[in-house]
């Protein structure tokens, strides 16, 4: 009888041990195994509580990198900078898996594509892709460096129009302008105010009013971008810039107050740039804007988009910004 009791007790202990102890040990083991092996788990958290974890991933070129993505708080998005791969939305607590393969060695940025909080743009991480063929050629310097533009210096416009310049009115004037004012290089390197001064000094514009000369500037600026490019620029702006600069470009986006309230440097007190302010906008050259977008504002809260957007996308965005000053 005693043995029988003991036997039943032992059986009961084994049953309870399996259920109450074995199961959690097995689960923990599974959890450990899953986290220690591919795919790598990448947690998305608001920047205020850590951003991406881990922030650096490593993989060999040509080898697939399997990722298990999960948001630990709000809706985030995952995308690789300068890549055509579609962004992946990460809903809170929901696991998404994806596989990336990088052909060439290098550093690739991944970033959040959803406005997840005031410091959304800080959600950046790096994938270090290693391999034997490392491209050691130095990248060509950006145009603002070639032109010697100080991105952080104020750039007020010496002259501003009385009415909003119109590209259509400029075109209607029917003037043939010299290429050293209308070429892409000329456009990129001069501010609208500088181009206006150059035009104003030309005999061909003697009979024109100041605002008509501004219309010519608007026309030159408008011819730099196709309709499709401006459409793409509008989309890029809405996706990446509008939260701070506002949908209308006047620096009053929903995140603008958090940028002003931050502690990121003395310039920041001015808040996000107001592209509708002629006295500031018309003093900046496209090369300067391109540099600002690419390098960032350095202490102003303006993110650096160099690793995220392609060179072409940054130029498209730059071209689009002038639509806040010049009408069709």
């Amino acid at each position: 009888m005693a043995l029988g009791l003991l036997g039943r007790e032992t059986a009961a202990r084994i049953a309870v041990g399996v259920a109450g102890l074995g199961l959690p040990v097995a689960l923990f083991g599974a959890w450990q195994w899953v986290h220690a092996s591919q795919p790598v788990t990448l947690h998305a958290r608001m920047s205020e509580v850590g951003g991406w974890a881990p922030e650096v991933l490593r993989v060999e070129a040509g080898r697939p990198l399997e990722l298990r993505l999960i948001s630990d708080d709000v809706v985030h998005g995952f995308a690789i900078g300068q890549s055509q791969v579609s962004p992946i939305d990460l809903l809170p607590g929901q696991v998404v898996t994806t596989t990336l393969t990088f052909d060439a060695p290098g550093s690739y940025s991944y970033y959040c594509t959803r406005w997840c909080g005031p410091n959304h743009w800080r959600m950046r991480g790096v994938i270090e892709v290693t391999g034997p063929e490392v491209n050691t050629a130095a990248p060509s310097p950006p145009l603002y460096e070639v032109l010697g533009i100080d991105l952080d210096a104020p750039h007020p416009a010496a002259v501003v129009p009385q009415t909003r310049p119109s590209a259509a009115r400029g075109a209607q004037l029917g003037l043939i302008l010299p290429e050293d004012l209308t070429s892409r290089d000329a456009y990129a390197s001069r501010s609208p105010a500088e181009t206006w001064r150059a035009l104003r000094a030309m005999p061909v514009t003697e009979t024109l009013t100041d605002d008509q000369v501004w219309d010519l500037v608007a026309w030159i600026w408008r011819t730099q971008a196709s309709e499709a490019a401006l459409q793409q620029g509008a989309e890029l702006f809405a996706q990446n810039c509008a939260a701070c600069h506002g949908e209308g470009g006047s620096g009053d986006g929903v995140m603008a107050s958090s940028v002003v309230a931050g502690t990121m440097g003395p310039v920041e007190a001015t808040g996000p740039a107001d592209f509708t302010d002629a006295s500031r906008a018309l003093g900046a050259s496209p090369a300067l804007l391109h540099g600002k977008i690419s390098r960032g504002g350095m202490g102003t809260g303006m993110p650096y988009w160099g690793p995220i957007l392609t060179e072409e996308e940054i130029w498209i965005l730059t071209d689009y910004l002038w639509t806040f000053q010049f009408e069709e």
Partner: protein, 451 residues
Amino acid sequence: MTRYELTRSPGVRRLLQSRWPQLTVQAVALAGLALVIASALLGTPVGNRNFAIVMVWIAWWAALMLVAVPLLGRTWCSICPLPLPGEWLQRGAVLGPRGRGFGLGLRWPKRLRNLWLQNGAFVLVALFSLPVLTQPRLTGLLLAGLVLLAIALSLVFERRAFCRYVCPVGGFIGLYAQAAPIEVRVRDATLCAAHATKTCYTGSEKGYGCPWQVYPGALNANTYCGVCMECLRTCPYDNVAVNLRPFGADLSEVKGRGLDETFKAVLLLGSGLAYSGVLLGAWSTARLAAANIGSIDWLVYAAGFLAFVLVLVPAFLLLALRAGLWLSGSRLDILRAVRAFSPALIPLGLSLWIAFSLSFLFPNISYIFPVMSDPLNLGWNLLGTAGLGWTPYGPALVPLLTVGVVLVGLAWTSRRISATAESLGGRAGLALPLLTAAFVMAAGALWLLVF
């Protein structure tokens, strides 16, 4: 009142006396608890995607409030996994009964042999409930902490001191179990009186003495009976029965409630109202404050919550009772009146908690399916339901059910108030203010939950 004895059937009696069925369910519950704590600590911190949050605070709580407590009383306590590790250590066995296990086996301090500690524990948990209900790590720590506390108390004190005197949920279940249509009672109390060894309390080779420190021979309410079936095993005369009975039999049959139990009824009634307002009502400011533990807002919320459940609601009911005494010209002692009328509040309180549970169950039940498929948020899809999105069920049905449940509770409480007034002499006016107070509270709950 009429009863139907379930254990009259030899098959049912054998099933309940056998330790294996109960142990099997306990083992499953323990495995569930282990999974819950593992997912709480290792899974996603996103509440609605975390297995622990969803399964404990949506699935378990709703099952407890909508089915287990109203229909089965304290039956949950007989399989609850929280005290099991401590109890097994204390006994030195999981199946038993065997020799003595570990622990000092001290008696619970006499001054604490009441519900005040549980009342305090409930209020404490209630104050921190919003973060606990939404943050998996806190839920995991709370549950693990309760298991450890139960182990500690089992190793120091005899029997289930944790369940009887500390567990915040236990006090809640115990109070409302009095309304359930099921009970464990002796068939013939005189047989118990004549039984010299009282094995139901002291234990025998067939089972343990009552873990809940209850003498079944004198059991007249479900409040402290954990439905563990030990007395069914140890009674040599098969004098213990499990009965089906009318709903709420304890409310009319038991006299002389302690102040602790009286206060519990009032506390839970007030808490049900407060929860409905803070967690489900339109007061987003209060909800944010309740979530922001340690902030000034939270301190204000905590002070408001405490003032409401500890002062305002008790004072409101006391005032109604005093008015009734004054109106009726009764010379009944106010404390005696409080004790007499408090059980009448139990149906209304239970109905508020059921209504509250209905209101959050239906909108949130769809969260259960994804977490069942991926309990540790590892990207699994065990049941093929991982990708199911949130779907609120029964948006039109919930208000109707809520109104129905609260009205049933109000009607039941009104009937108990009237019957109690009758039993206290039946003077005109005695019940009227309390009936009005019950109506006001029911209307308040409906306003918060439905309108």
